[in-house]
Symmetry: C2
Subunit: 339 residues, 2 copies
């Protein structure tokens, strides 16, 4: 088996990408050149970029590299969908330490290829470098959209309904379980971690998918959201971001936040309120969007979409309303927050 | 003075970018959204991405953050120029450790702003995250070009002249001097490093510029290079990359490799052959391009361009010819190589 140093930088990129086919007409370039070339027939081009750092965004102790590659792609292209665009290309930059072997980086690229195939995105370029400081992945996603169909964070209007796809908090609790098993492993040298009963949560953490079907259903129903974002920081933080960009406030209802049964069960184990996990967990890769209230009937027919509240005219007022009439001020948690 | 944690992620991005104006008509988006929106009126869009890692690409011991920000932008946009495109937007992602204070990251963005102003590029988006593993910067550059004017690495033809802008090896020797002074400082606690006589070399390392004027002169002279690359890996490595993409070979002449007087002097101090430093040093941010031999008269009138050799039909044959008729096989050095 050849080593990374035998292949060299360009040989390595060529080797890793030789089986990755391009399928989008707008992808003009080959991978080896300075830039990716993207043809745009008068559409607007969307570009988004993300950094994924070892120790911050993932731990190699429990993240298979294939899953990491898959998630890195998903993370980047979800920003294009969040603008109601169609992701078409990605550029991947990898910085890796000397402990990395060829089969490790191949595994990473297997996951990248899987995600590219699944979501019909072309790998169109990138960079590769050594790293003294852990595995670092930079992913840039490029997409396009007709000018009039782009949805920004800033379009939410008073009385608009706040809608979400899927359910929340699962990836966060998946991470808690992985961290717990990691500690058990380090402390007690338990040979095999026990993940039975937590498959859904761990799947949401390690191999998230994006609710592309919801975007398609919205289009079919003739609903163009007034604002939209992908939920990665956390439902509360991302909702507050929409409100800030729209100079608005919001009220959402505790009992309407969708939480999966397995999430609720695990939250109980960890002594966390499931809705707190749902609001602040992050990495959900679900859609959060607002629609005019007149669209209520249309949206209620779409599977996997829940209406959780509405936009208010009071900028800066972010309310979580309980069933008992109580009102709590919604906060964006942690460092990666909108506040 | 506010702290980073008080500002939060989005507050920090807003704060750092509030004085950075956008000047390109194609820049549609505001910085806060999921993706940058770029209008493309039927041009081809160029996208390039780079990772810049602490310990690999820079040492904070001798790299002022302002210079680092400037160079990070230059590094990314130079890939667009290398395709004969016009850089128009950048997206900057930063991962920083907890030792970073607000004034540090502000300093970094001052340099980013300076480079954006100088090269008329708009900061159109990005990402910001914590890092456990040193300062990490990802820069994505976006540009455009009419389809017919894009120059790739793959177009070099037999007998084409190999041309370069400026001179080579200066940034590499600047780095050697910085490293030497760093060691002196660590060992003997010398208070003030002595850089007198090395200003040019250190400037080429810490605050490189790009020879945009050469691109303009080429256009004015009606010369469209058959292939082109920006020299960042090293003249030898980047020339070999052009040859590989063009399925060709090359011969370049030892005595024609442009080396500055200060570079030659410093190379002597370090007991390095100046041409070896020029061929393998890297980070020159000069242009390397090929033109049909019929263009020789036109190119010889352009200031700062040297013809250093020619393309041959023997794929895989990369020759450095000495004045005495000797021939050495040219090699791409180091990990970051084309071989």
């Amino acid at each position: 088996m050849r080593s990374i140093s035998q292949l060299g930088k360009f040989g390595l990129i060529a080797h890793l990408t030789e089986n990755i086919r391009k399928g989008n007409k707008s992808t003009i370039s080959d991978i080896g050149d300075d830039s990716a070339i993207i043809d745009s027939g008068g559409q607007q081009v969307l570009v988004s970029t993300d950094l994924i750092l070892e120790g911050i965004h993932f731990s190699l102790v429990y993240t298979p590299l294939k899953h990491l590659g898959y998630k890195a792609v998903l993370r980047a292209v979800s920003d294009i969908w969040a603008m109601n665009g169609k992701p078409e290309q990605i550029l991947v930059s990898v910085g890796m330490g000397s402990r990395f072997r060829l089969e490790n980086i191949e595994e990473l690229y297997e996951g990248i290829k899987l995600a590219c195939d699944k979501y019909k995105v072309d790998l169109a370029g990138g960079d590769m470098t050594s790293s003294f400081t852990g595995l670092t992945i930079g992913v840039t996603a490029v997409g396009s959209a007709p000018k009039d169909s782009i949805v920004k964070r800033s379009g939410a209007a008073v009385n608009d309904l706040i809608c979400v796809s899927g359910n929340f908090g699962a990836a966060y609790l998946g991470l808690q379980i992985l961290e717990r098993e990691k500690k058990m492993f380090e402390k007690e040298k338990v040979a095999e971690p026990d993940f039975s009963g937590y498959e859904y949560l761990i799947g949401r953490q390690l191999k998230p998918e994006f609710p592309v079907s919801v975007l398609e259903e919205l289009e079919r129903a003739g609903i163009r959201p007034s604002s939209m974002i992908d939920v990665t920081e956390g439902l509360a933080s991302d909702l507050i971001s929409i409100c800030k960009h729209s100079s608005a406030g919001c009220t959402i209802y505790y009992s309407r936040i969708p939480v999966d049964y397995e999430t609720a069960k695990a939250a109980e184990e960890f002594n966390i309120d499931p809705v707190t996990a749902a609001l602040n967990g992050g990495e959900d890769y679900e859609l959060l969007f607002t629609i005019p209230v007149a669209m209520h009937d249309r949206v209620s027919g779409i599977k996997d979409v829940s209406v959780i509240g509405h936009i208010s005219g009071e900028a800066g007022s972010y309310i979580l309303a309980g069933d008992d009439g109580s009102e709590i001020r919604l906060k964006a948690q942690g460092w990666n927050t909108a506040e």
